[in-house]
Symmetry: C2
Subunit: 368 residues, 2 copies
DNA sequence: ATGAAAGCGCTAACAA
DNA sequence: TTGTTAGCGCTTTCAT
């Protein structure tokens, strides 16, 4: 019972009266061991600089009392908080799962805590949050930031920053090279006989969307293809029906989607309208998110090494944080942009171009 | 150019030399406005208790210098950090997406930051992390904790805690009532003529797994069914093939899976072995995660209001944090457990029991 | 090797 | 209404 009690609240020190509890501080340890607080601090942090036996005694006491350092107090002095923010526009977008996992792992390994921030797809929100938290962060990783370029540059001057899938001058970034991958995808479609490819555009405020858009256009031109686009459509799977209808209306035999969510979202609607994938229409997604392999049919898509992107982003950030203070403050940290290749994963949503145009397509029958 | 410069680094004050920068503090504002720091503090935090014109002057200066309060320093005094940890066993498990979204939203609305912790499915890890971070947290929400009951109770004594899908005495919890839902699922299967139902068990260390297991067993008995189980299987979709093989070996005509990941994972293997769903085998999942509606065939599953669970968990936690300090420290906060109903969502993976036993099932052909 | 003292940025008594 | 003082927990000189 007594030991159970100890387990229940081991991290507290009884005051004189013994009726209230309070977190254990180095002062408590000092009192118990008969030294001064600064000695306790040394014994715990620079064990080499304190007598072996006192060190033992102090460390034992600390363990016994279940002492946990107050990181706020530490941060107040050092200015370093040990936490890194990972900023995403929407936590529920499966695209970010891998990113979050990648950053989480590396951050934990390095002893940092990960603060997850969801900006709800609003640049203003993003700026505001970051501004507010600046002081309690050692750095931030911005995934698909919605911030205008100048705001991003400005922010990078205030807090160590690494962006993911967003390339602006003077801020470190890791971007997944979907454009090159998209070239592969278009080549794949052309090889299957498609001559009329449409790009399904994502939201206007997405940097990736524009990068992919340009890539499809360039690749189409390279192969002498007709190129068009539909959209832009709002983020998310709910856009699926509208996307499907628009693609069908375009008359193209193949589409390249801004992302897998669009592609997956199209599928039910296409089925509903009697369009077979890939016999009547080939669909290419982008990112290879969770679900891309088990939707029906499984998606041909660009596999993005997003988890790796998270890892690299953390590595870049930590490298900067942990490098010795520059002698020459004028020397800006050399801008570094890492480009990660995306590969084409061919599954079952792409096939030979139909020899005849779609004819017996059922008309759109109301929203979804 | 000058104003651009201001935007680039507005949150710093030049020292005398003017060649280095440093975050703006209330002392800086005090100096600029000719008052003392405590007045600045008041002007910013209790505007009512300071002369209108000085207040204006101070607030203007704060805005001008782009002052941001140092939350560490504040925390040092108040003991409150404004951050809540959300602890999950695996960030990439889609089950948690909704939870994280729910907590994130409510937390942000209440002005708290969300610290996401991934325990990598290890109870030890979980305990260690929480222990280490205790001091920098105002509270924690534990999703599907792997901690033994006594450790959980002990922890609850040190830091305000709410568990999700884990019920232990004396700690507040919100649990999704999948057991009752499972009764519905079994009833549904019985109604379809199934007489031989197998439960696919999840990992041993999962509280939910045991709850669901018991529920299936109870329901089966209630309906005079034969009941068996296969497993336990390790978490994750990779278990899919093994699950499928085990279910097939059991000879049952229907299975209820620990979660959707198992169910989705089974599907390709079943197809590979020539087993049709639901004609030859009915499959029921649990949770209704992202993907359950677009896998093939779409899954009959228990829809868990997981986002709502996150919201409720936050509400419970904040209610406790923000309630005035109890006059009687002995009065433990009244234990409150919220039970959220899960509903049965019937899609296409369940159907009438086959009239004849499976015969021409292809043998398992190596892993996956 | 250890102790004494100062201070990080902020807030909260208490005084004036 | 404003200033003065003290102190949160910790680290870091500087003495000893």
């Amino acid at each position: 019972m007594a030991s159970a009690e100890q387990h229940a609240a081991p991290a507290t020190a009884a005051t004189d009266g013994g009726r209230r509890t309070r977190p254990v501080t180095i002062t408590d340890i000092a009192r118990v061991t008969g030294v001064v607080p600064s000695t306790v601090s040394r014994a715990l942090n620079k064990p080499g600089r304190v007598n072996a036996v006192t060190r033992e005694r102090i460390q034992a006491a600390a363990r016994e009392l279940n002492y946990v350092p107050n990181s706020q107090a530490r941060a107040l002095i050092s200015g370093r908080t040990g936490t890194i923010a990972v900023v995403v526009s929407d936590v529920t977008n499966p695209f970010y799962f891998g990113l979050i996992r990648g950053t989480q792992q590396r951050l934990k390994a390095a002893g940092y805590a990960q603060l997850l921030i969801d900006t709800e797809d609003s640049g203003e929100h993003e700026a505001e949050m970051l501004q507010k938290m600046r002081r309690s962060l050692d750095g931030a990783i911005l995934a698909a930031s919605r911030l205008p370029e100048r705001a991003l540059t400005a922010l990078a001057g205030e807090i160590p920053l690494v962006t993911v899938n967003r390339n602006v001058p003077r801020v470190q970034s890791v971007v997944i090279d979907t454009p090159t991958g998209i070239g592969l995808a278009v080549e794949h479609l052309v090889g299957l006989g498609h001559r009329d490819i449409v790009y399904v555009a994502g939201p206007e405020n997405s940097w990736s969307n524009h990068a992919r858009w340009r890539a499809v256009r360039a690749a189409a031109q390279r192969y002498g293809q007709r190129f068009r686009h539909v959209g832009p459509f709002p983020r998310g799977r709910r856009s699926g029906s509208a996307v499907a209808d628009a693609v069908l209306a375009s008359g193209a035999t193949a589409c390249v989607c801004f992302n897998d969510l669009f592609a997956i979202g199209m599928l039910p609607r296409l089925r509903q309208r009697g369009v077979r994938v890939p016999e009547d229409l080939s669909v290419v997604g982008c990112d290879d998110i969770f679900g891309a392999d088990f939707c029906h049919p499984p998606l041909t898509t660009l596999t993005a090494p997003i988890e790796q992107a998270g890892e690299v982003a953390v590595a870049m950030l930590l490298a900067r944080l942990e490098q010795p203070v520059t002698e020459h403050p004028g020397t800006a940290p050399s801008r570094r942009a890492v480009l990660l290749p995306a590969t084409l994963t061919v599954r079952e949503s792409t096939g030979p171009a139909p020899t005849t145009r779609l004819s017996a397509v059922r008309p759109p029958a109301g929203p979804s």
